[in-house]
């Protein structure tokens, strides 16, 4: 799938928060279709802000983001259409608590993609089956474990058939024994060729699944490269320090 034109092209991205925090300080980055990019870095380094900027949950204060050749920061771009192609999985799942799992998954396809109910539900059940939750379609989110919730959140996003999946620390809020089941789903997705941008503290995942690892600190990409380079031969002193703490 990986043609030479990057699917996402980010140029000199800036984000100043009110109150003076300079969360992103000139990010330049290309992400190709089918690539799995893992972003690591200490907390406060701007990695979540960067990820959230990609679908404009965070409004950058400078720079540009091209997705499929379109500058999504330009005036008159329909950001809602754009977001359908870049679905986000959150640290705290954010399932809709007043709907069943099935309803959570079918709401957006029915309302936005105008799929009919039978079609959407059939697809939802198939996806649930694939992530091992075939029997929980009629459960409410409060009846699920953290790992189950996150798997539902992933398949809910997949219902929109996105081009890119953004993961914002998807396993950070999970009990340790539930991390594996979510990572397994993500690995399968990666193997199917889904373009993924993942902010995570799971170095094992970064090493095993990532095509490329970005190390961020102080709002900048300090170093990037293949997992072998980043973990085997880190050059930047901040990266060396970071890895010595987390590995």
């Amino acid at each position: 799938m990986s043609d030479n034109i990057p699917y996402i092209h980010v140029e000199n991205l800036q984000k100043h928060f009110k109150g003076g925090i300079h969360a992103l300080n000139g990010i330049d980055c290309d992400i190709s279709s089918g690539e799995v990019v893992v972003i690591i870095g200490p907390s406060g380094s701007g990695k979540s802000t960067f990820l959230r900027s990609l679908n404009l949950l965070e409004m950058p204060t400078g720079g540009s983001i091209y997705v499929g050749g379109v500058n999504i920061l330009a005036k008159g771009v329909n950001i809602d259409l754009h977001r359908r192609k870049m679905c986000m999985v959150f640290q705290h799942f954010h399932l809709f608590p007043h709907m069943t799992v099935l309803k959570n998954m079918t709401l957006a396809p029915i309302k936005l993609l105008k799929q009919n109910r039978e079609e959407a539900e059939a697809k939802a059940r198939e996806l649930l089956e694939r992530v091992g939750l075939g029997n929980r379609a009629d459960a409410y989110p409060s009846q699920l474990s953290g790992g189950q919730k996150q798997r539902v959140a992933i398949v809910r996003a997949l219902m929109m058939e996105p081009e890119v999946m953004l993961f914002d620390e998807p396993t950070s809020a999970l009990d340790p024994e539930m991390v594996g089941e979510v990572l397994t789903v993500m690995k399968e997705l990666a193997a199917e060729g889904m373009t993924m941008v993942v902010v995570t503290h799971e170095m094992g995942f970064a090493r095993e699944v990532g095509n490329r690892v970005l190390f961020m600190d102080e709002g900048k990409i300090m170093e990037q490269g293949s997992p072998e380079e980043i973990f085997g031969n880190p050059k930047h002193p901040r990266l060396q320090e970071f890895l010595s703490k987390v590995l």
């Binding site: 977001r83 986000m88 007043h98 709907m99 957006a108």
Partner: protein, 242 residues
Amino acid sequence: MSKWFTQLEEDFHLNFIEEGRWRWLVEGLGNTLIITFFALLIGLVIGIVVAAVRSTHDKNRETMAKGFGYVLLKIANVICHIYLTILRGTPIVVQLLIMYFIVFASSRNSMLVAIIAFGINSGAYVAEILRGGIMSIDNGQFEAGRSLGFNYPQTMVHIIIPQVFKNVLPTLCNEFIVLLKETSIAGYVGIVDLAKAGDLIRGRTFSAFMPLIAVALIYLAMVIILSSLVGVLERRLRRSER
């Protein structure tokens, strides 16, 4: 003891049966219900609009493009703010009198004036109840909706409002009960509502106990019925969450 009962019976007869005085209570009850019902409708409509303006402003002011829509929203928000401050900052009796003797001085339709006065007043409280409900929903719910591709109004309608409604129902019910009881000041502008009806009977019969207790019991009965209806509705809504 039996003397006491005889006394009570005579009292009852004097206050309600003689000259068909019970008809005042019926008429009063009717007017109270009419005012409450229509004021409630007006209050809900105003409340929803004001809450929508205020919460849209609070949620979007940082991310919105600084164009025409932004200015419009800013102005609307300021107007809503002034409305809330005035309506919640002055007693409803004074508002009612101002409406009757100043704003609608040329109108002699006191029922209509009262409905408008109570509706506008109730709207302020409903607006703040709804806004509180909207702001109390975890911002992640908005983000989840937006990240799936829903725009702001769609996120509101499909994801946020159903949760808000469930959360604020008890408080909203409380507001309706307050409204029902507040209409008892409608007598100030010459309306025979339930409270005024009791008053009129008392003025005729010079006995206070029967008419006032009767009026109190009728209000109490209405409030109990209303509360239990909402209780049923609340339990049905809760069923979706364990």
